[in-house]
Symmetry: C2
Subunit: 282 residues, 2 copies
Amino acid sequence: MQPEAARSDPALPALAGEAVAQRRALDRLFRDAALRDGAVEREFPPLLEIAALERADYFRSFPQHASLIAPLERAVLPEVAAHGARGARALASADLATPRHLMTPAACYALYPALADRALAVPCSVTLVSDCCRHEADYDAGVRQWCFRMRETVHFGTAESVRACLATWTQRILAWGAAAGLQCSIAPATDSFFDPQDPRRLLQRLEPNKHEVLWDGRIALASLNFHRTFFGERYGIRDADGRPVFSGCVAFGLDRWLLACRSRCGERLRDWPAVLRGGSDA
Amino acid sequence: MQPEAARSDPALPALAGEAVAQRRALDRLFRDAALRDGAVEREFPPLLEIAALERADYFRSFPQHASLIAPLERAVLPEVAAHGARGARALASADLATPRHLMTPAACYALYPALADRALAVPCSVTLVSDCCRHEADYDAGVRQWCFRMRETVHFGTAESVRACLATWTQRILAWGAAAGLQCSIAPATDSFFDPQDPRRLLQRLEPNKHEVLWDGRIALASLNFHRTFFGERYGIRDADGRPVFSGCVAFGLDRWLLACRSRCGERLRDWPAVLRGGSDA
C-alpha cells in the first residue's frame, strides 16, 4: 500500500496527494480576489463559544447541526487514566464537563463576536477560512460532510455597498465556474440564518437574502448572503453614527469545489486551467 | 475600529492581517522541505474517532487534554429549538449524545488509523497539517493554546532510516532558527506518547525517543520523535515482510514559530529573511 491510499469515512473524509494542493489552490483563488478588493485577513480557531453564537439564535434554528465540545469532568480523570476509554469504561456524556463551546458551523460566525459592541470603520471586508462542522443524518464525501472547509469574505457597509459587493462576487464565481467547465446557475435559497419564528423569514420570501451558485442544478458551490442589519443588530456592530451596519457574505464550500473541479479538469493540478491555479505555487 | 482589531482569548486566540500570511509562509516552508524529500501530502479533518486514538492508549496517558465532541441528543432538539441555549436552557453534558469523537491532539494521530492493519511500502514519508486541541488548566496565547496548528512529517521505515530522517530535520530546524535570529537548542524531552505504566517509559530514559528544539531554552518550537515500532505494533502497520514498521515524526508548533519569528523579524512578512518566506507568495 502507498501512504496516499485513503480510508473512507464519508462524514470525515481525508484528502491525499494532489487533492490537498488542489483544495489549497482553490482557497488561494478565492482569498486573493478578496485581498485585491482590500479585504483584511483574519483566522480563528474552529472552536466557538456557545454564548457567542447564541446572539445569532443559532440553536433555535439549527440545533441538530451543533457539534458540542467539552473536556472530561475532572472527577473521572483518574478512572479514565487507569482504564482508558475502551470496553467497559467507554466514555459517556455524563463523563463530560458542561459544554461551553462548539465547532463553528460556518467560518463567519467567529467574526461577529470578535467585532461585537463597537463602532466599525465601514465599508470594510474581512476574508477568513475555517474547518466547519454540521452534524447531519446522512453524509456524502465531498458534498455533505460533518466537517468541511469554508472560505468566506464578509463585507460590512451600507445596503448599497453590500449589494454591489455581492453582485461583483456573483460575476466572479460564474466566470470561475465557466473556466472550470462547470454548469453553474444562480438560485434563491430558503436556508437562512434567521430563526424560523422570525418575521424576517417572510421578508426573505419577498426579497431573498440568500442565493446559491448551483453546479448541475443540484450542488451549492457557493452562497451569497445579504444579512441586512441582522448581525449588526444582534452583535451591536455599529457604524460611526451608531447605526447597526449592513453586512453580507460570500461563502465557498472548498470540498465541493474540489470535487467539481477534479471531475471536470482532472486529478493533476497542472492540467487545470491557469485561472484556477493562480499565479503562484500551491 | 479596524476589522483587524482582535478580541483576545488566550485559549483560542485569533490571527489578523499579516500574521495570517506569516503563519501560512512558515507552514509552506516546513511542508515544501518534506515534499522535496518525496513525502506525500495528506489532510484529515480535526475530528478523530475515540476508538481510533485508543489503540495508542491516549486516554490512559493524557485524559485531561481530551476535547470530546458530540451532537445533541435527538430527544432534546425540540426543547432547544423552542428556547435556544441561553439562560435556563443552558446546555448541560446530559443533553449530549454519547461522544464518539474528539479533536485530534496532534496532526499525526489521524494518520496511523488510516494506514492500520495493512502492509505499507516503506520507506515513505507523509506530511500533514491540522488544528489540534489539548485542554489545559492555563493558557498563554501563542505558546499554550487550547487549539493550535501543527505541521508534522511522519517517516515510516527501518530504525536506521528513521534516525537518519530525524537527523536531517534537526539540522534543517537549527538552520531555520539561525536564519530567523532565534536562540535554539536541542534537549531531550520526557513528554511521551507511551502510557506512564508502560515499561518503554524506562527505556525512554535510557535512549530518549523525543527531543525538542527549544527557543531561548524554554519554548519548544518543534519536537523530533523516534517511535520505534510503537505505532507499527499498535496499529498493525507492517512492512512487506509482515514486521511492524519503525516510525518517527517531526512536529512544528506553527503558532509558536509565528510568535518567535515575529518577535525577531518583525510584523511585516516582507521584512523577514527570504529563506523563511520561501520562493512563492503566501
